[in-house]
Symmetry: C2
Subunit: 587 residues, 2 copies
């Protein structure tokens, strides 16, 4: 059993059989003065050097970066600071950090790396782009894991099929890349992509973390079709119709280069057990190719904003939204945003107030007034030819018009409303990065997402809002949040913004989210996704029948990855080779 | 390793360690004269009697039926003839037959049965209603399995939630049951169900076999939400949000009776690996409860028929359908049916022709003329308020109007067209059983479905049609088929109708479908679902990278079901305790 070092680890007693060789990389003298290596758990520096040499034999020296405490990590010099650790660290920056980062050049490299990690029993943490912001970025769950940068080289759009309205992408393809491809090839009049708030992340990575966007294709997992996956033992699987060889495939090519079945991106399920879901939010395989359905241009589009003046309008708004959404009058994934989220996109806190404390209702009202926004602001869109949109808009206006003081705007009515201009793009699948400006609400801003699933009901929305706002303020934070309305539920996304250089504030942010997880579980609310630091706690709340689901997950994990080399601890699933209690993150 | 008896099994040498005690139940003298028992493989009659006694201790004697070759099976006296074997048998009737059928009263019974089957190492084959017609009915893959009749007692609609637009059902709830519930509770103006062609089957069973229906909610698996599953070891899992306990759940109740989480039917994915898919077309668990999303009344509906006169119109029709379907102008799952399918619903072959041979083009044209139908007939529907439907209809009419001789009908235009009247119900989620009349095309009609997935392209449709018609005629059958148009592919459903009492015709039907599976695989086409007799052959066509997907399936199977007691061989997945080569069904 591999046991973690504590947060301030003791020096290793040395030797390859020592339980852990992970060293605190910064601030304290490493056990061997002058050796600034970070090591995988239970691996000594000599073994680690042999391992990285073997890695270099596979991918070439230039594709292996050793993370050194006195250079790369400290100076954030590995390509992008997010690639070896969590850019928005909430624990110490060097907590969720990789010992090295490898960038495979192709699927065969990934397979060889998996086999090598099995041989050395070293954990490997794949990431696509590393922009899993608010949830841990590129950082590994187990400190000292080998980071595997899937996106650096494997970043090709392999196919865009106009007739079938789909794309086949590698891990490094971002939403920007895919959108740009459509624009450059004059396909935007035919096909749209769906984008989350930020366009810089990986299409494949976001989908496999079950991220959402805002067009009618907002449920990315639902809209994926077909995966190619390297299993922990290094074998390669194509799921669904991809398991059926194409008659034109060249058997002399390596499997990952073989021409795929023409129905791979057309039909998800194939024959027999449908396995794709077990590769999402999971440590059971490394996805190397994925199909994603694209939306056909709907033949017309109109985004809009509805402002609602009072805090208590939340209840009525949600009750209005539910039947419209389930009835597909609201055709896409709309959002109901608290005014401070919009305010934060348009300015930092100091532009609105000198207060260091959470803003009061009076102060929030003043901001809403200044921005010509409501306390709650609904961003939606209409899709289709004009007569269809007209029918929908009439229904929407009548319904929201029941809220006293509700106002209706199209983007041209509010040219200075940055959020409405951004959302006008986002809701038609045009990527941007502007939305992340809210992270600058505080200086040196970092953030955590608290993301419980809510029933689309006024009571549930108000209860979640009241709870999360009260707790936020109790720990000294402003409530910044949004309700993202799916088919039959809402992702309630609460953005906990903190100053990364303020250790006390980070501790409070961590304590806040941890408290909220427990508060929510007591009400029967669970989170859909979380930061590395919260994975164990949240997994433990999904405890029906003595944690039967986790026992199932562990059985499958141990069957597919007996040495526990792939992403141990991801989403709370620990392989048999780890003492899962010892690895809990202290709050 | 358990080995099967051959189709005409040798008498067992007796004793509990004999490789198989399965006996030919009919026609030949059983090994012990006067003992008409059918036995599970490798189980002697004494052990079997102990087993069935223990079964009776669990569920009560009245819920255990021993299948006896000289009574129940022969006389088809077990409640319904479909419950112990395949109603539409293509091999000998007694081939895919259960040794006994048990009807659990609740989830605790299912758990106890699974543990008992592990203790005795006896295979168990669950079915919901047993109406998996064309794919094996209630028959087990391994002769002599214990049939588990999930639907006999576990047939409750546990919840219909109008706000959330979903139902929670047990295995025995049929499409009729669910529809009737809506009608009786005056909910039909709010909620619609989606139905396949036949309404007598199980909602849960159909969904878990990945069956489809014809409204916008036609992809049943996509529209399911949340499962409760008994694993092969008898443990009980709730997936997705169901894994999060409800705060009002009574911990003193058995887990399966505990109040579920209120988001269980609202959000599919929960936290961590999304496992639901591995329980479909699979032998990894017995689903005891399932959520299904219901469609809200769209506020308007109009079904229609478009007839196209010539055989070669197929190509153009499909090319017209593709962009309309992916663009959601065709909002539901429409069908393009060959005229003989419609003809067979409205009469048997003898009403149209004295020919025993496959009908010629001239004869088929005469039938089309007589019925006022085209060679190809497109059944679609419009959903939404009148202005929305008007926009859609205009686009549909213009598009199909390009086909010379295409004619457009609403149901009121053709009161005598039974198929259009049936489809008018089916496309708005009203169940019926009338469609199955086509099985009476021949006397004593039985059928097999050949169901390849096709790209929505004229070339692919024509190639599949030509291949399947040519082969059908080669083996002496009429081509009876339909293209069922999903989001981006078509389920091409070919109905192979045969006279069950004609052993030669059954052999030809079996040979035909087996030939078609190989023909299709050579073109890169694979089937989405199949009859018991074809499972191994089709699974073998999904062979990418040396059958990597099957190796993955087997690893998971062996981890969750080490003794291989649950549905061995289902969809070609054999547990380690079976010699999968020996169990192949001879063609």
């Amino acid at each position: 059993m591999k046991e973690p070092q504590s947060f301030a680890p003791e020096p290793t007693t040395g030797g390859p059989t020592a339980p852990s060789a992970y060293r605190k990389p910064n601030g304290e003298a490493p056990p061997n003065a002058g050796d600034p290596l970070i090591l995988p758990p239970g691996i000594d520096s000599q073994t680690f050097k042999s391992f990285t040499q073997r890695l270099a034999d596979i991918v070439g020296q230039s594709n292996v970066t050793i993370i050194s405490t006195d250079k790369e990590l400290h100076q954030e010099s590995y390509l992008d600071p997010s690639k070896a650790h969590d850019m928005f660290y909430v624990l110490e920056k060097q907590y969720f950090v990789s010992s090295a980062v490898v960038a495979p050049r192709d699927v065969a490299d990934v397979q060889a790396i998996m086999r090598l990690c099995n041989e050395f029993e070293i954990p490997v943490w794949p990431f696509s782009i590393g922009r899993n912001v608010g949830y841990g970025g590129a950082g590994p769950r187990v400190p000292g894991s080998l980071g595997m940068d899937m996106g650096r080289h494997m970043n090709k759009i392999l196919n865009v099929d106009v007739d079938g309205a789909y794309a086949l992408v590698e891990p490094g393809v971002t939403f920007f890349d895919l959108h740009d491809y459509l624009v450059k090839n004059n396909l935007r009049d035919k096909l749209w992509i769906d984008v989350p708030d930020l366009g810089g992340g990986s299409v494949l990575g976001n989908t496999c973390e079950r991220g959402v966007g805002y067009t009618p294709y907002g449920d990315h997992y639902m809209m994926h079709c077909g995966m190619e996956v390297v299993l922990p033992d290094g074998s390669l699987v194509r799921t669904g119709m991809g398991a059926l060889p194409d008659p034109e495939a060249d058997p002399n090519l390596p499997p990952h280069e073989q021409k795929p079945n023409k129905c791979w991106q057309l039909f998800n399920y194939g024959f027999g057990p449908y396995n794709d879901g077990i590769f999402t939010q999971s440590s059971l395989g490394v996805i190397t190719k994925m199909g994603i359905w694209l939306m056909t241009n709907p033949g017309g589009y109109q985004s809009y904003l509805i402002t609602m003046p009072r805090d208590e309008d939340l209840h009525q708004a949600i009750e209005i939204i539910r039947p419209l959404r389930v009835g597909m009058v609201l055709q896409n994934v709309p959002t109901l945003r608290h005014v401070l989220l919009d305010a934060a996109v348009m300015g930092d806190k100091s532009t609105y107030s000198d207060s260091k404390a959470p803003l009061t209702d009076t102060e929030i009202d003043a901001i809403a007034h200044k921005l010509n926004l409501g306390r709650w602001n609904f961003y939606g869109a209409l899709y289709g030819p004009e007569p269809v949109r007209a029918v929908m808009w009439q229904v929407v206006k009548t319904a929201f018009g029941q809220i006293p003081g509700a106002k209706f705007y199209f983007p041209e009515d509010m040219p200075d409303n940055k959020v409405l201009q951004i959302r006008d793009g986002t809701l038609q699948g045009i990527p941007s990065v502007d939305e992340l400006r809210w992270v600058d609400w505080l200086p040196n801003g970092g953030h955590l997402f608290f993301s419980p699933i809510a029933k689309v009901s006024g009571d549930d929305a108000v209860a979640q809002y009241k709870l999360t706002r009260r707790r936020s303020e109790e720990f000294g934070f402003d409530f910044i949040g949004t309700f993202v309305v799916g088919m039959r539920e809402m992702h309630h996304i609460v953005c906990i913004v903190y100053d990364r250089r303020d250790a006390d504030m980070r501790r409070r942010a961590h304590k806040l989210i941890s408290t909220l997880v427990d508060d929510a579980a007591k009400q029967g609310w669970g989170e859909y996704r979380t930061h590395l630091a919260l994975m164990d706690q949240i997994a433990a709340t999904y405890s029906f029948n003595d944690h039967a689901q986790m026992k199932l997950n562990e059985k499958i994990k141990n069957a597919l990855d007996p040495k526990g080399i792939l992403a141990p601890g991801k989403n709370g699933v620990w392989p048999q080779t780890y003492d899962k209690v010892a690895w809990r993150v202290p709050v």
